[in-house]
């Protein structure tokens, strides 16, 4: 076969294919049944052209048609509600269980630092001012002081919604940064995780020292289950990326990072969802100071138990299936 008669024979078909590729959605839809076999034909032409070593411009044109056809053929993935339900009921809790060692380590760092600084500052109340400026300490006191203005004058729904927007804007961005920082050898994730753990410990201790522990803990217990766990989750997902860069387990570094990305994706996605839930709870439930604190403790505690039993039990395969 010479180049000339190859072009003469096939170029009509190529033009037709090109028209569909460059066309709008309507044209693509009208040729939906024709397209996949046509694409295969084009790939065949590409192989022919290559094995005969035809002109690079022909090969490039066919290469282009194959690439664009590939984009079109595999592009239209439909969105279904089932994917989301599957993610929540199966993929996410499974991903968490598969990473329980890493998550345990990250939780230990976070809660360990929180407890350490908490006890330190309860024992030595003056130490608080070594870690945070006095103005911030006063501001924190004000936030949890039952006699302060906002305790006596509960804000309206509009105010709650504003806080909701702020929590999304702030907390989810922090989780994203915590995660992304992990790829820098794990440094970013670790830094933010440690900083948050220590900061939380210091603040909690300071509030306890002031004697406002009841309003404080009844406030944080509600959304803390989702929020704090989500921060730990995103930090662990980030640490996973950094870790995979150094410990490749026999794969190339690129393959190792790619695999870690795949593992980390459900974790960070789930953590995002958890933070949105946490923002809802924090804005619309935790701030209801007029609710008796007994009820808030019970509801908050139930939240913790439900969340962790979800992690442990959800999405397990039935035993019959396993065999």
């Amino acid at each position: 076969m010479t180049q000339q008669n190859f072009i003469e024979r096939r170029s009509g078909f190529w033009n037709e294919f090109e028209k569909v590729i460059n066309g709008n959605k309507k044209i693509v839809k009208s040729r939906a049944a024709w397209f996949p076999p046509a694409w295969r034909e084009i790939t065949q032409d590409l192989n022919t052209a290559r094995s005969h070593a035809f002109d690079p411009s022909i090969i490039e044109r066919l290469n282009r048609l194959v690439l664009e056809g590939n984009q079109l053929l595999y592009g239209q993935r439909s969105w279904s509600i089932k994917i989301i339900i599957d993610f929540i009921t199966k993929t996410f809790p499974r991903a968490i269980r598969s990473q329980w060692r890493g998550l345990g380590a990250a939780s230990l760092i976070f809660w360990g630092l929180a407890l350490f600084f908490g006890f330190l500052c309860v024992r030595f109340p003056a130490a608080v001012y070594e870690f945070i400026p006095e103005s911030q300490a006063v501001q924190m006191e004000e936030m949890y002081n039952p006699e302060s203005y906002h305790f006596l004058h509960p804000r309206d729904v509009g105010g709650d919604a504003d806080m909701f927007g702020y929590y999304i804007y702030n907390n989810v961005a922090i989780a994203f940064r915590t995660f992304a920082g992990g790829i820098l050898a794990g440094f970013g994730s670790l830094l933010i995780l440690c900083f948050n753990g220590a900061f939380m410990g210091v603040i909690a201790a300071h509030i306890i020292n002031q004697g406002f522990s009841e309003p404080f803990f009844s406030f944080v217990i509600g959304h803390g289950s989702f929020e704090l766990t989500a921060i730990v989750l995103s930090a662990q997902a980030g640490l996973l990326l950094g870790y995979s860069f150094f410990v490749t387990k026999g794969r190339s570094r690129a393959a190792s990072i790619r695999a870690a990305g795949k593992t980390a994706l459900p974790l960070i996605t789930g953590s995002t969802i958890m933070l949105v839930i946490a923002a809802v709870i924090e804005a619309f439930w935790s701030s209801r100071h007029q609710t008796p604190s007994n009820i808030r403790f019970i509801a908050g505690g139930a939240g913790w138990i439900l969340l962790y039993s979800y992690f442990i039990f959800a999405g397990r395969e039935k035993k019959e299936k396993k065999r």
């Binding site: 002109d55 592009g75 992304a180 690129a254």
Partner: protein, 249 residues
């Protein structure tokens, strides 16, 4: 995944078909990033102006504004890449697109991942990380591209006009019969050379062609070879190219 002598990458589809991707380098991606951040700023400023003019705050409260800013901040690229087959406005203008490592279109997961890591890539002073990472890695990938296994490649429209033009300058040279059967790579290399000939200038073209021409001439034996100084080096290769490109057939 193979890589050629240039920056192109050969990838295989699940069907076992191999085709070539042309990853986009640092300068064009920087331009795209600049355009995209301009678009982001414009969106945010428009949001502020509109919410101020319509007095959003008293109707809905500020939370809508905050969430919109958050979405523009973190999900602008994801949304664009998913809606326009891997192209944000900046990428569309410059003719590049995000694809997965195997050439298939970008999916929600990989798009989300690569754009989350945008923060890590751009976080140090002067974007040192992203500059280094793109410059030294094969396929010009930044950290986010490595983790999500994506590539930024030229869309074919962008490179088509340059590469698909005819080569009228071949008509001027004399047809040369190659001394032996050339391999695929040799033929492609000669044709690529012929295509770029006008960009190189005569002297540089001769310099490039010299070593290879000498080998070919030596292999041809005495009876086949044109007289040594009858044709200059680049002319010799162009002559072969003329035969290969089908003009002489």
């Amino acid at each position: 995944m193979d890589c050629g002598a240039d920056s192109s990458l050969a990838v295989q589809t699940p069907e076992g078909i191999e085709f070539i991707l042309y990853p986009a380098g640092l300068p064009i991606r920087m331009c795209a990033a600049v355009i995209d951040s301009c678009v982001q700023w414009i969106i945010i400023i428009t949001l502020f102006v509109v919410s101020y003019l319509l007095d959003f705050e008293s109707i809905f409260g500020t939370w809508i504004l905050l969430i919109m800013i958050f979405l523009v901040d973190w999900f602008y690229h994801v949304t664009c890449e998913l809606c326009w087959r891997g192209q944000s406005p900046g990428k569309k203008i410059l003719g590049i697109r995000v694809v997965r490592g195997d050439g298939s279109p970008v999916n929600p997961g990989s798009s989300f991942l690569r754009n989350l890591l945008r923060f890590a890539d751009t976080f140090l002073f002067l974007y040192i990380i992203v500059l280094l990472c793109i410059s030294v890695s094969r396929g010009f990938r930044r950290l986010g591209d490595w983790a999500a296994d994506t590539l930024v490649v030229y869309t074919s429209q962008a490179q088509a006009p340059v590469r698909r033009s005819a080569m009228p300058w071949l008509q001027a040279v004399e047809l040369v019969n190659p001394p032996r059967r050339l391999s695929y790579e040799e033929k492609q290399a000669i044709l690529m050379f012929a295509r770029r000939y006008p960009l190189l200038g005569k002297e540089r073209a001769d310099e490039i062609a010299h070593d290879y021409t000498e080998i070919l001439r030596g292999e041809g034996g005495i009876e086949n070879a044109p007289l040594p100084q009858e044709q200059d080096d680049s002319g010799y290769l162009l002559g072969i190219a003329r035969g290969l490109s089908g003009d002489g057939l």
